[in-house]
């Protein structure tokens, strides 16, 4: 067991995502930490060979497990920093160097066996170069009327006239400012351990210079929260190192010398939330493979408008998808009958679980079944891309926004989230983290009518409650989860900001359909359950969406 503990001394981590200048990076990428160790090695004029050996040993290890808490991200803001490439003074370094060299040659000749003629010649050369240099200095500092110079550039040296350039410093704030990298099966030889210890002590920052850290090798890391995975679905891609990384970095440094643009040589490895990847967590038939859209414009709909929004997005996807529409998207067999197989759910994501949460819909996720084939996934992705391209906007680093018309309520503009989501609500991890206890953020539409939950007759109400509990239990097993050990039914949610079940209109809204009873619930399982947990008859439209507690 080998574990590296990273303490973020300022409580923040300032580092730009490798694929988006406006996004922060989290968890800390292993390759970035390796680079920091290499920088520590080369800070010394003559790097210690034992420390170098230690890094050569480290780079051969597989990608580490990572223990890191959740994080919040600071809103991406542009700051304007004063430039320094202004002024009227030219660069004299070449002339000054020539002058110095001539003087050195003269001094060498004087102290050597050179004859007087040669010395006089060297003296004349040195004097000529020195006079020229002094004349250059004079010309650079004096002003001649009518002289052609860049006035604005010269004046900008005054601090109050200095131009400013926009910069971004993406910053994440982890819940716990400590992160561990864990190599479970690694056992370094004593010399290697010593080298690694010395290097770690000299690493002062990771990412931006304001991102101060303390690194230590420890023996008691916490359980990992992120582990490397072969499955790219729903994973976060992190940069890692492999054999040859130290040499690649050294070669790369020789090329860029910190002046030219550079790219960190690295491998990319998908990481999945370890709590979910572990065998101990049970999971349902919907997966962590989400395509999340965030609201960027338009009204902030309350949660109870969720099913309507889900239907609008599903219809839009159906209209963009290639014919014939696949079962995975439509949820209907070619015969028109409802499929028994899991299919895509459009799940609106309400702002809940925060002190100021108001239940408004911040985005919507297209959630794929856990066992989606590559073909089916590609089919859904193609439909999403086609929907995005319909708006006609250019595809830059971010996907083009998608507009959804919600009848008289107005138009909603959504954009697919790429990289680290700025809002916790839009992070699948917020909904998929394994937990024994779950609470509904949107009410469950019960599959069977339980009777009158609000009956004045205590016996009738108790019977209805028992049936409602049974209905929730069977909704759990129906999606592949174990039967819960406890279910508490209520009209209001245990999650802050979630809307009361009574706020929701009749479901389904269409007249003539069997109206479902909507209830909130707190559900406990015997062992951890990984999300998403979406229960009941309205689960494909985001009803019965649960949050891990």
């Amino acid at each position: 067991m080998l574990a590296l503990r990273i303490d973020l001394l300022t409580g923040r981590y300032v580092a730009t995502a490798y694929n988006d200048r406006n996004e922060g990076e989290w968890p800390i990428h292993p390759a970035r930490v390796f680079s920091a160790l290499v920088a520590a090695l080369h800070d010394a004029d003559s790097p210690d060979p034992l420390e170098r050996e230690a890094l050569l040993w480290l780079e051969r290890l597989p990608a580490p497990d990572i223990a890191a808490s959740n994080c919040g991200m600071r809103t991406a803001a542009r700051v304007f920093v004063p430039v320094n490439d202004v002024g009227s003074m030219p660069d004299f370094s070449d002339d000054a160097r020539a002058c110095e060299e001539a003087k050195a040659e003269l001094a060498a000749a004087k102290s050597g066996a050179a004859d007087g003629r040669a010395i006089r010649s060297l003296q004349a050369t040195a004097k000529k170069l020195e006079d020229r240099l002094l004349e250059d200095y004079r010309a650079a500092r004096t002003f001649n009327a009518g002289e052609k110079i860049d006035v604005a550039r010269a004046l900008a040296v005054l601090p109050e006239r200095r131009g400013r350039q926009p910069r971004t410093f993406p910053c994440v704030v982890p819940d716990d400012p400590v992160c561990h990298f864990v190599w479970r099966d690694a056992a370094p030889p004593a010399a290697v351990r010593g080298g690694l210890e010395r290097l770690a002590r000299r690493v002062t920052r990771i990412g931006h210079s304001s991102s101060l850290v303390a690194l230590r090798w420890v023996n008691d890391p916490p359980r990992p929260t992120w582990t490397p995975s072969d499955n790219t679905r729903g994973a976060r891609v992190l940069r890692v190192v492999s054999e040859g990384q130290l040499e690649r970095l050294e070669e790369e440094f020789g090329r860029h010398r910190e002046t030219s643009p550079r790219t960190l040589p690295c491998g990319l490895v998908p990481y999945r939330s370890a709590s979910n990847a572990g065998r101990e967590a049970a999971c349902g038939n919907l997966g962590e493979d989400w395509l999340v859209f965030g609201r960027i414009q338009g009204p902030a709909f309350p949660s109870h408008r969720g099913p309507e929004l889900a239907k609008t997005l599903r219809d839009a996807l159906m209209s963009a998808a290639a014919d014939p529409i696949k079962v995975v998207l439509s949820g209907h067999e070619p015969s028109g009958r409802r499929t028994d197989r899991p299919h895509v759910a459009c799940v609106p994501l309400p702002f809940v679980g925060h002190r100021y949460a108001d239940g408004s819909i911040l985005g919507i996720a297209v959630v794929l079944p856990r066992e989606t084939s590559e073909d089916d996934r590609q089919y859904i992705e193609d439909a999403v891309v086609k929907l995005e391209d319909r708006a006609g906007a250019a595809r830059g680093s971010q996907p083009p926004p998608v507009r959804l018309v919600m009848g008289a309520a107005g138009e909603l503009t959504l954009q697919r989230v790429v990289g680290l989501p700025g809002l916790r609500t839009l992070d699948p991890d917020a909904w998929c983290r394994a937990s024994r206890t779950w609470a509904t953020a949107t009410p469950i539409a019960l599959d069977r009518h339980p009777g009158d939950l609000r009956s004045r007759s205590a016996a009738k109400a108790a019977e209805a409650l028992r049936r409602a509990v049974e209905s929730v239990e069977s909704a759990c097993t129906h999606i592949g989860l174990p039967a819960p050990t406890e279910v508490r039914i209520d009209g209001s949610s245990a999650v802050g900001g979630a809307e009361h079940a009574a706020k929701y209109g009749p479901y389904p809204a269409r007249a003539g359909r069997f109206r479902r009873e909507l209830v909130h619930a707190v559900i406990r399982f015997e062992r951890p359950v990984a999300g998403p947990v979406v229960l009941g008859a309205g689960r494909f439209q985001g009803l019965g969406l649960c949050r891990p507690l």
Binding site: D45, G72, P82, Y137, T204, G353, R355
Partner: protein, 412 residues
């Protein structure tokens, strides 16, 4: 060596990681009073405010925090605090100035120090100045020494501008381009507001003279002497533009509500300052301030003394900022809640307290400088006097005069 300095030196020797101070502040107007954070250009069109907001988990609950003073801004404030201490003669350390006070017509610019210049020792204002002998700063002995400095050979920067080693400097535009001296900051300080709740700001003006818009019947015109006039200018010049009373600052201004930069209420503000001792230990000083090569135990002693002097100066920056107060900007005055205490993060992660008053800091800087001088790492400075006074070039001065004259003419 005083106890305080002894303590600092021991921390650096023992491999302590950092010294930090986390301090709570409240709004000067009392609990619940609104403060105004800095506004930013935010690219996100759905952003609710122009402030930099982040969510932190405090005591298990997610709360919004707002950036009240950034790392860069804090560095500038601490530099100004150190400058005030230097000017008062309380803190003695090397400062270079560019002196405009003897330049005719530019006396008001005064002296620009390495604590004022945006890029510190590497700043363009120093590059555009010369020594008393007329040699451009970068071609002078001091300038060349800075150009050649590195983390592994930091003596020149320690000798000329130690604050650049504390707050960071990058000679990105010097003779060697981006390969110039590059020193990461060792002191990081930031202030955030915890549990921030955005408010709104209103703006309006009721004109006591109740001048209404008369421009339809009686338009106003610009007048060079009176500012404005009812008389339409005659002559062949361009068509005169009719003005409203509001164009000349009369009349009511309709009320408006700014919801994106309307200030915030907070539970409290949190100031976090961290000095990386590991960062200071990275700085190597293979030669002393006279250029003599240091070896073995002599070098170890000199390096330790130099790093201790830098640590004392950095902590003085934090403590002296307290004396300056935390009037961060208009309507953002913070007052401390309770006494401030530094804490030391040891190499094994353990934490213990360290107290440092302003007097302690002042004495620590003086004693550390004296101890460093004993090892050949002395700062050749006198209290309140610059180590080097540079002269702005005649060309730069003349350009500023011409620019000012042009600005004055265009106003007329």
């Amino acid at each position: 060596m005083t106890a305080k300095l002894d303590e600092l030196a021991n921390l650096i020797e023992a491999g302590a990681v950092a010294v930090r101070r986390v301090r709570r502040f409240g709004p000067a107007g009392g609990a619940g009073d609104k403060v105004f954070p800095p506004t930013y250009v935010v690219d996100d069109p759905k952003a609710q405010t122009k402030y930099a907001i982040e969510t932190r988990r405090i005591d298990g609950a997610a709360v919004d925090t707002v950036l009240l003073d950034s790392v860069q801004s804090q560095a500038n404030r601490m530099e100004q605090a150190l400058l005030a201490g230097w000017r008062a003669g309380e803190l003695s350390f090397p400062v270079i100035v560019v002196d405009f006070s003897n330049e005719k017509g530019l006396e008001d610019i005064g002296q620009i120090t390495t604590l004022d210049a945006p890029h510190r020792l590497a700043d363009a204002i120093l590059r555009d100045s010369t020594t008393a002998k007329g040699v451009p700063f970068r071609q002078s002995g001091e300038g060349l020494a800075f150009t050649r400095a590195k983390v592994a050979r930091a003596t020149a920067v320690f000798k000329l501008c130690p604050t650049a080693l504390i707050f960071g400097v990058w000679d990105s535009t010097g003779a060697t381009g981006g390969m110039g001296a590059k020193f990461a900051r060792t002191l990081v300080s930031e202030i955030v507001g915890v549990n921030a709740c955005a408010g709104v700001k209103t703006a309006s003006r009721i004109d006591p003279l109740q001048i209404s818009d008369v421009s339809k019947g009686n338009p106003l015109y610009e007048d060079a002497e009176e500012g404005w006039t009812f008389e339409k200018p005659s002559g062949k010049s361009a068509k005169p533009q009719a003005l409203k009373p509001s164009d000349v600052n009369h009349g009511n201004i309709a009320p408006s509500v700014d919801a994106k930069a309307g200030g915030v209420t907070l539970d409290y503000a949190l100031h976090t300052a961290v000095l990386s001792l590991a960062g200071l230990r990275k700085l190597a000083f293979p030669v002393d301030c006279s250029g003599r090569t240091l070896d073995g135990a002599q070098r170890a002693k000199a390096e330790s003394a130099a790093r201790t002097a830098l640590a004392a100066l950095a902590l003085a920056g934090v403590v002296y900022q307290d004396a300056m107060g935390y009037d961060l900007r208009s309507r953002c005055l913070l007052v401390p809640e309770g006494v401030a205490q530094f804490e030391v993060v040891a190499a094994d992660g353990r934490v213990h307290g360290l107290t440092m008053s302003r007097e302690d800091a002042q004495k620590a800087v003086a004693d550390a400088a004296a101890a460093a001088a004993n090892c050949g790492m002395g700062w050749a400075c006198e209290p309140g006097k610059p180590i080097l006074t540079l002269k702005p070039t005649e060309k730069l001065c003349e350009l500023i005069r011409i620019s000012r004259a042009q600005a004055a003419t265009s106003k007329e």
